[in-house]
Symmetry: C2
Subunit: 415 residues, 2 copies
């Protein structure tokens, strides 16, 4: 499918993240309170206002609250209808152009908020290169992958309360750590604070029992970039035997625009080769993966952005649908607004790794960022993710997912 021309000129420009083909969904404030908005070129179409004006009609009002959850809950037929109507309002030659134009706002200058209310957040570990790298560092190359890894998309429950929108500063956390040279644990600001490059899948249909991989795919509304900030030193001390907890609870940043699954359909990709067959309940149901190019820039305080890694969501071993299907095997109810992180997406080469832990190989080989070595993140660093599915004449972009590291607070428990 080629570029769909919009009467919003910037949407037709090469390299634009938000052509008419995308129709990404956000919540914005351009000075008149929070509204549901649709990204188009360098503009945001005020969807709440379009609905109020009768230019967009979804049966019942779904956009009166500044969150996309109501549309999400409305189901796939409404999602498709919404895309048809928005396309018709914004396409080149749209009869309604003059009526829609007053409801556009410059993206620059608008404040973006979380695009949906996160019900619960689960983080998977579905990237094979990442799991292999981390396992090699911690357990040696011969035991890199956990025994279960090729059989189930392992994951853990995270904290929905810690999910923040791109641009929110992230405060370096304190935590209890015990290094190999420590006789007793210490309470300290994390010295090994890190990012994790992930894709977030947004669940928009509930379930109350096990669902198949195909059913799971239909429950996914869209995707965001997701940075699962991680304190490696806190994690190393706390994670046995119950898994990551406070090391992952400071913040999880998501990009502000939901890219709907429908926008990514032309960029579906086949599953990876399976080293061992998956059991039937997790078997591949189709081309449920996506070809989305990802990169990360790191900008030191007062420095210039430097790209430190490039990878692709095709590096995932388990699709979001497989992650979700596994999530329901026990009967675990899923709800509208559940967010599933993919786990870190690393590629096979050293320059395609999705975390500082891997890029610096546990801190042993710091990378060069603007002339200074970086093993983990320093105060003032800004980490920025970019992602886009790329066609010859357009791209379906996610915008950016960024956060700046603030220094740790003084010891919150000093007397």
């Amino acid at each position: 499918m080629g570029l769909r021309q919009s009467w919003v000129g910037s949407a037709n420009e090469p390299g634009c993240d938000f052509p008419l083909n995308n129709l990404a969904l956000g919540v914005f404030d351009a000075g008149h309170g929070r509204r549901c908005g649709v990204a188009i070129g360098d503009q945001i179409a005020d969807a709440t206002a379009l609905e109020a004006a009768g230019l967009l009609s979804l049966g019942t009002p779904l956009l009166t609250h500044p969150s996309w959850n109501a549309l999400m809950a409305a189901g796939p037929t409404i999602w498709a209808d919404f895309r048809v109507q928005m396309t018709d309002l914004l396409r080149a030659g749209a009869p309604a152009q003059a009526k829609v134009a007053p409801h556009l706002h410059a993206m620059q200058g608008a404040t973006l908020h979380l695009p949906f209310t996160v019900s619960e957040f689960t983080d998977f570990y579905a990237g094979r290169h990442h799991a292999t790298n981390v396992g090699t560092m911690f357990r040696g190359a011969d035991n890199a992958l956990p025994a279960n890894w090729l059989h189930i998309p392992i994951g853990y429950n995270g904290r929905a309360s810690s999910v923040v929108v791109s641009g929110t500063p992230v405060r370096r956390p304190w935590g209890q750590v015990k290094g190999p040279d420590d006789n007793v644990p210490r309470f300290t600001p994390s010295q090994r604070f890190d990012f994790e490059l992930e894709l977030g899948a947004i669940i928009a249909q509930p379930s109350n029992g096990p669902v198949s991989v195909a059913q799971a795919n239909d429950m996914i509304f869209g995707y965001v970039l997701l940075n699962d900030w991680s304190a490696r030193d806190i994690q190393a001390w706390e994670y046995q035997p119950l898994g990551p907890f406070q090391s992952k609870a400071t913040a999880t940043t998501i990009s502000p625009w939901i890219v709907m699954r429908a926008a990514l359909d032309p960029f579906c990709a086949a599953p990876p080769d399976r080293e061992t067959p998956l059991l039937p309940h997790l078997a591949d149901s189709g081309d449920d993966f996506h070809d989305i190019a990802l990169d990360v820039t790191l900008t030191p305080q007062n420095g210039t952005p430097e790209t430190i890694t490039r990878t692709n969501t095709r590096e995932l071993y388990y699709s979001p649908a497989q992650q979700l299907a596994h999530h329901t095997t026990s009967g675990c109810p899923m709800r509208v607004g559940d967010l599933l992180g993919s786990g870190t997406i690393s590629g096979p080469t050293p320059d395609s790794r999705g975390s500082m832990l891997e890029l610096s190989w546990g801190g042993q080989t710091p990378i060069n960022v603007g002339g200074t070595p970086r093993a983990f993140l320093e105060d003032g660093d800004t980490v920025t993710f970019h992602g886009a599915a790329v066609a010859p004449d357009h791209r379906i972009g996610f915008g950016t997912c960024d956060g700046t590291i603030l220094p740790a607070l003084p010891n919150p428990y000093a007397s």
Copy 2:
């Protein structure tokens, strides 16, 4: 403090879980829709109706929705005021008795629902005997306690969506398992389905940064009994390295009555001896433990209830306030309605263990229940928790927390 006499006669009877001293909070339906209710003897006072009638006034209406979250969010001053007013309405000789009486409903016959909306659910592992027992089974007596166990209340995030109220049947889950004799994993109904006897703490004040143990204690609104149903075979295969996930996601059952922290103040207990000192941020801040007697009955299908364990919440090594303080160290935001499970509360003796895993020592020594051996739970078994803080002339009871095991569904993925 002795028994406070109520004009509701059943509240003054020995052995009653709900004397005037308790004022436990639930959501009930006695045929007129869901309402906020206060347990008094064998009756429920319709607090929603009392507020609507002007007999209970909390500044703004807080009980119009069938959930106690609004009162919880209102803060400690309102919580205390609420208890004063309810006591005044229900005490012997209350001037308002005639006006209140029409708003009482028999507890028997009323349907009880979740008393609050669970924001997020976290499960700790704060019982030393339980951690020692499980560790001994899995790693041997010399390495029973994980290295971090005496230094932090380790825990993991659970699923709020799976929290159900007492009485809700629990369906035996399917899951992927791989036993020691299996060459490859299998997808099967759990054969080692279990209960875990826990105390649940309800967080009712938000935080947005680290809080001290003393501050944490003030954020706790009340307590429920909590059964963290666990599929041990699924857990054994999935839990490395990210912790329990689907093994704990089928259901978590809570008792229907919130016992407010104020009701338990007379039953505060001192911390246990500390084998190693806790770091300052987790140090004991006072008598934050409680003396609450617990027991579990197991009722086989068509059988009679048999008490299979007796223990006490004093067996916890970390208080709920310490659990909560640790939860916030990273800056993790807490919200009104967060639920913290204590972890399994086992005592030091074989007949005080809080799970079948421990009672049957991993299935090796099944216990006798009504003449038949039980290693784990069978279909049709009903597990019932009881809990009460016991004074010479009254008790602060929790009611019961029960669930009956339904057989697994047919293979949900059979083609």
